[in-house]
């Protein structure tokens, strides 16, 4: 197996388990006196984990498990309620050293500040340079916690993963790639250039078939997929509609789509669309695996 895989692909493959070990190592360290941090957003939580710090509290962790999947959240993390209304009393009981939020939780900041210092940042911002913004935010976060080296490592690792996928995919995909996600049996989200997925497509050297989409994504009727005649389609499963991607396959209209007939359809596990660098890595890795048909699980 190894002999057919490009060098960087092998490197990528070995990175994944390594990073997990890394996180576990720091989990032990956090009990020994690493800062205790509450992350009030899933993107922040996954980034914090990848920086080697296990957050003490995350809202709705069961949904984190379904949307983010990897890096996995340890069982020690406390559920602090809903995404837009974390429980103040519970946070006070946990008395973290720092609370991380996104600007979406602006209204709660005055009360959160009574618990601990609040650091508010956007890891994901839809736009043409999503990944650059995400890198800067990650480094700023690492600076704030005082682990700049970890921040540099995460940025470097992410670039490596993207480069590895780029190499793995180079010459393997003809034509543009469309990233879609089913919402129900009649509608899909199509992701444009300003989305996290669009940014990763660019970074790994693929053309986004939905380049005409202005915002982050649009919701469109299923039939519009047929218009992307020469595209390779990546259908992201969503935790919201489990099994929907498989269900679509049974419709006659679906069977006539060029990418279905010509075998250019790839189903993919969920990736948090509003995540930070770890989500970008995960998408790049899954993309490489899906489009080349090579798993990277066996080193």
């Amino acid at each position: 197996m190894m002999r057919r895989r490009p060098l960087l692909g092998g490197l990528l493959a070995s990175l994944a388990p390594l990073r997990l070990l890394h996180a576990e190592g720091f989990a032990a360290a956090s009990q020994a006196g690493a800062p205790s941090i509450a992350a009030l957003d899933w993107g922040l939580a996954e980034t914090l984990l990848s920086l080697g710090i296990v957050p003490v509290a995350v809202p709705a962790p069961s949904w984190y498990d379904r949307y983010v999947v990897d890096p996995a959240l340890p069982g020690s993390v406390v559920d602090v309620g809903l995404l837009f209304s974390p429980n103040f009393e519970l946070l006070r009981e946990l008395s973290p050293d720092l609370i991380l939020t996104t600007p979406g939780l602006q209204a709660a900041v005055p009360m959160l500040q009574r618990v601990a210092p609040v650091y508010s940042l956007n890891l994901f911002q839809a736009g043409p340079d999503t990944l650059a913004i995400s890198e800067q935010a990650t480094l700023a976060l690492a600076d704030r916690i005082g682990i700049r080296a970890e921040g540099d490592r995460l940025v470097g690792e992410t670039r490596l993963v993207l480069a590895a996928s780029r190499q793995q995919l180079s010459g393997r995909v003809n034509g543009p790639v469309l990233v879609a996600s089913p919402l129900d049996d009649r509608h899909v989200s199509l992701f444009g250039a300003n989305s996290l997925y669009g940014a990763v497509l660019r970074a790994v050297g693929l053309t986004n078939a939905a380049s005409g989409i202005g915002g982050e994504f649009v919701i469109a009727g299923l039939e519009t997929l047929g218009g992307y005649a020469d595209a390779t389609v990546v259908l992201l499963e969503t935790p919201a509609a489990p099994g929907m991607a498989k269900r679509l396959v049974s419709s006659r209209l679906w069977q006539t789509f060029p990418f279905v007939r010509e075998g250019r359809l790839h189903l993919m596990a969920p990736v948090l669309g509003s995540g930070g660098l770890p989500a970008a890595s995960r998408f790049a890795r899954l993309l490489g695996e899906a489009l080349t048909g090579e798993g990277s699980s066996s080193p």
Binding site: S85, E93, Q106, I219, L222, A240, A241, M244, R252, T256
Partner: protein
Amino acid sequence: MTSRKGTSHKGTSRKSDARVTPAIVAALLFAVAIASALVRLAELLPFANWWQAAVNPDVGVYAQILVHDSFLPRLAVALLAGGALGLSGAVFQQVLRTPLADPSTLGVSAGAYLALALATVWVPGLAISAREVIALFGALAAFALVFIVALPHRLSPLSLILAGLVITLVCGAVSAAISLFYGMGLTGLFIWGSGSLNQNDWSAVSHLAPRLALCCVSAGLLARPLALLSLSDESARSLGLSLFAVRGLSIVIAILLAAFTVSAVGVIGFVGLAAPVIARTAGARRLLPRMIWSVLIGSALLLAADEALQQASRVMREIPAGAATAFLGVPLILLLLKRLHPAEVHFDLEAVPCNRRPARWLAAAAVIFLGLVWLSLSIGPSLHGWTFSTPAQAQALMIWRLPRLAAAAAGGVLFALSGTVIQRMTGNPMARPELIGVSTGAALGILLLVVSTPIVTPASQLLAATAGSVISLLLILALARRGEFRPDQVLLLGVALNTAFVALITVMLGTGLPRIYGLLQWMAGSTYSVTPMQAVIAVFVAVLGLAVTPLFARWLDLLPLGGAPARALGLNLSLSRAALLVLSAFMAAAATLLIGPLSFVGLMAPHMARALGFQRALPQLLAAAILGPLIMTLADFIGRVALFPNQLPVGIVATLIGGPYFLFLMRRRVA
């Protein structure tokens, strides 16, 4: 396509032939829609292949399958759904005797939505595979509740409208709570809620067509007796008509039409309202022609709207048809209000023996309230289970528990005062502050703010809410002045604003933009992030309301006597009603800012005060001002601890307490 022979119709023969007729309206809409459809079809497929694609498409050619399995069924579904909603609306408007009624008035859409939301969360697999059945079940269950509540009132129009509204609000509150918990996971549901007509096979059409046809025939058979319903109850009864049977049957048919449609294509607003109104305005005065034209105009309207949206989607993101028609409906409702003559009797005020010991009762209520406050501040779950804090420990928790409790209680005071004023002013014990549309206006203001700017601060929120409530207040004052601020008219205005608001929220949710979910929190009436400073301001405003409202006690004692006696006692009706409306509206707006647009406390508190025997204005105001915060404190406590660490917004809990109370009252009280 429709012919022109409708022009010679009897109902319009009085008028000159140059006038607009239903046939012209329908023909124009159809012509535009079909022209647009043909243009789009020509882009998909060469003319030579049209017939083949329609009848026996080549499975090897994508464009042919697209036309056969997507393009054509979408046209058919638009025609079927539009026609069904049009007919349903025509029947409802006849039975309920108001042009403001539409199929969603009786809770059909809200019930279907709630059923689907519950299914999506609990049995996602089933929600996907059996969507129609679940939605149909929800729609019919909601209507069954409305029916049960309105039954003791012999299905009188007002009882149906009120029960429908309350069930819509309660279902909406539960759906909102579910959305708060599962926001992103429900995008599919939100799309369904905004009424998208996309199809990818003929299943919806073949499912709908026979059912709708059956309903249409039944409705046609009922047209004659139904026509007599436009007479007053007394004269219809003297003609030997079983009012009850005709009303019940017609409503069931109209409900079925709406429920089948909703279950197949989702929530489509205003077509059911607009089609019959257009038919009537264009000259279809008699019922049977109006029903027929409502079907045709409804079909044409929805088809034209959907075509317009598909043409527009070349340059912008596609908007679901249901959402777009809802927008069209708002100006229509405002136009309609000018010509409204709801001649409906109110519920009689219940004769309750006067309370002999008001001071003792008030003191008891105050003690219970304070006890509840103490309990709520001391008890709460934590990491290690439930804890009861000693006063010393409670002091440390005060900063977390007191501000939200104080804000909720202050909101309770304001809604209670506002509700007492409205109920006394309108002489209608079922009136609620939300119904005058002011809190809805405030909510609309915030909604528009969130959509138009990326970053929302508490200050800009306050500004937007105030602007929204003032504008809707001015609107209501301007429109209601014509009718000397007739209470029923003001209430109907509020209902209309509410309808428009719900439609707008649905559209926003359908966009799938994440920042809408943060907004849901406030919509649901959350005091979650109230700061001590905000709480102080809230209490101050509540105290102000408590100080000012009793000054109007004399007017409030006189107005329930009715227009003529009040005037005889030297009251300027327009002036006093306008002043009280403004007072009530400002208190409702302030309360909305605190605890959101949803809550029944403004209904419950004044009503319970009356039931306890506080008849005169001043004692009733005082009693309501104690009971209101009592209910809200309880709701805040339940919301904080029931699903710990998750927190239910106080507005939702209050609605879940108040809604059933309202329905129970309605069911018991026989008009």
